[in-house]
């Protein structure tokens, strides 16, 4: 095994353990912290695939910004282990049913797809910023712009919702 294979298995191990911890732990703050660890492990996978830009943006956006806000909100609410609401049976059944449906859909989708393993060329520059920019602004210009408009719409919506109370 090459050194990068060891790194791969290590990152995979960390990602799975911390991802499990996200759902298994009862403390909301631990959940968020585990999720941050998961994001770092996944960013490590991106680096292994030579996708430096994607990896660093993953850290900046998810671990550095979104999770900080998550943590901010959870700390503000000050949830802790004693704050465990008694969910009724209906809630449990609904959760199990919806999760089961999701699993069936996923299994169905994966069973139908013809998974082809494609080996990545060594020293490929495909994840580098220059290549990514060229592809993004030539081949995928329209989807890229539409995605940005979608984000803008979400932002305007968020501002509108938060301003609503002040207006009247």
């Amino acid at each position: 095994m090459s050194p990068s294979t060891y790194v791969f298995w290590f990152l995979t191990f960390v990602a799975i353990i911390s991802a499990l911890n996200v759902v298994l732990t009862k403390n909301a703050v631990y959940s968020v912290l585990s999720l941050i660890v998961t994001f770092f492990a996944i960013a490590g996978h991106y680096f292994l695939m030579n996708a430096q830009f994607l990896g660093i943006v993953h850290i900046m956006v998810y671990a550095g910004a979104i999770m900080v806000l998550f943590l901010y909100v959870i700390m503000m609410l000050n949830l802790n282990e004693t704050f465990e609401t008694n969910k009724d049976t209906f809630f449990h059944i609904a959760a199990v049913v919806s999760a089961g449906l999701l699993m069936v859909t996923m299994i169905g989708a994966f069973a139908k797809t013809d998974i082809q393993m494609q080996a990545m060329a060594d020293n490929s520059n495909i994840g580098y910023l220059e290549e990514l920019g060229k592809v993004l602004f030539n081949e995928f210009l329209l989807p890229f712009e539409i995605a940005s408009v979608l984000l803008l719409a979400a932002m305007v919506g968020a501002v509108y919702l938060s301003k609503k109370e002040i207006k009247d």
Partner: protein, 342 residues
């Protein structure tokens, strides 16, 4: 193999130098504060009080260590660790000087030249806030929590303006690698000439990211006692304070690298220096520029009073963010008129 040994040595040297500079920055800060307030400052330990940082360090280690019984012990310890870790991670991409030739082979005085160097810096800075947040929350103290919340709100807000300010720079230089940015500045003018507004925004945001006055809301002692590190004692407190000074050193280095020509100095080719001597002079020039900015950080701290929290948010979102966007727009137009866009 040779390269690996050299880089490993460089990592150790950069780490030790950051620690040393951070230790003496505390001394510098106290001396400058004393000067600005017409006092003497520390003068007991050694000549001119020069041994003061060592005495402080020993004091920090010897003090009783208190972990509040209600706090979460592991997270309480993790907080200062993360603060220290992220502070010492940023030095990796900074080019400290030119080439050093040892026994015929040449080595760069930069640990790694990432082609996404600037993004790496922003990424590390954006995770730096966890040290403060986790420490503040695990302290289980209202003031600590308020400090942590303030810190996270502030850092998130100013990161955006900071990132956008750098985009102008990336547009003019066309690269994210810090080494290339330094080389480009050697060939032409320093980037401050092309990006004065971008520099100003970046510099102001650096103050906010460092939690330094006038943006030191997270540890605002008149309102929050000590802010996020109220419950910390001994070397854990020392780590938080130390991390702040290392961050100050590194951000000065980043400012110099991005906007003030890095280790290059004017009329470098006219001096006739070459080889290792030139590299040595370059490192000294670089450190000189860095120390000037560290002095500037301290100067501002003892000159300008602290913002109110709403003023801080107003400045971040309603002044710096639009200014950064205007900067990007103006840079684009000027580049288009120049014909440097193709």
């Amino acid at each position: 193999m040779e390269l690996l040994v050299f880089k490993a040595l460089l990592v150790v040297v950069v780490f030790l130098v950051s620690l040393g500079v951070a230790a003496y920055a505390t001394y510098g800060e106290r001396k400058i504060a004393a000067f600005l307030q017409d006092r003497v400052g520390p003068d007991r330990a050694g000549p001119f009080g020069l041994l003061q940082p060592i005495a402080d360090g020993v004091k920090m280690f010897m003090k009783e260590e208190i972990i509040p019984s209600v706090s979460n012990k592991w997270l309480f310890i993790l907080g200062p660790c993360i603060a220290m870790l992220t502070a010492s991670m940023t030095g990796v991409v900074i080019p400290w000087g030119g080439e050093l030739s040892i026994g015929g082979s040449k080595f760069d005085l930069q640990i790694v030249d990432l082609n996404i160097g600037i993004l790496y810096l922003l990424g590390v800075v954006s995770t730096g806030v966890y040290g403060i947040m986790i420490g503040g929350w695990a302290s289980n103290n209202k003031y600590s929590l308020l400090g942590a919340l303030r810190a996270s709100g502030q850092m998130i807000s100013y990161e955006i303006a900071m990132g956008l300010a750098i985009i102008g720079l990336v547009m003019t230089t066309g690269t994210l690698s810090l080494k290339e940015i330094v080389h480009l500045q050697d060939a032409g003018y320093a980037n401050i000439v092309y990006q004065p507004l971008g520099f100003l925004i970046f510099f102001i945001c650096a103050f906010a990211e460092l939690n330094r006055a006038p943006f030191d809301m997270p540890e605002c002692e008149t309102e929050l006692i000590g802010g996020y590190h109220t419950e910390y004692s001994s070397m854990k407190l020392g780590f938080y304070l130390f991390a702040e000074y290392i961050n100050m050193f590194i951000s000065s280095a980043v400012i110099v690298t991005l906007y003030f020509g890095g280790y290059h100095f004017p009329f470098e080719s006219l001096t006739g220096l070459e080889g290792n001597l030139l590299t040595l002079v370059q490192v000294l020039v670089f450190m000189g520029k860095v120390f000037f900015f560290m002095f500037f950080f301290m100067w501002v701290r003892w000159t300008i009073p602290r913002f109110r929290y709403d003023q801080l948010m107003h400045l971040g979102w309603k002044v710096l963010l639009p200014l950064a966007l205007i900067n990007i727009f103006a840079t684009g137009i000027i580049m288009w008129l120049n014909g440097s866009l193709n």
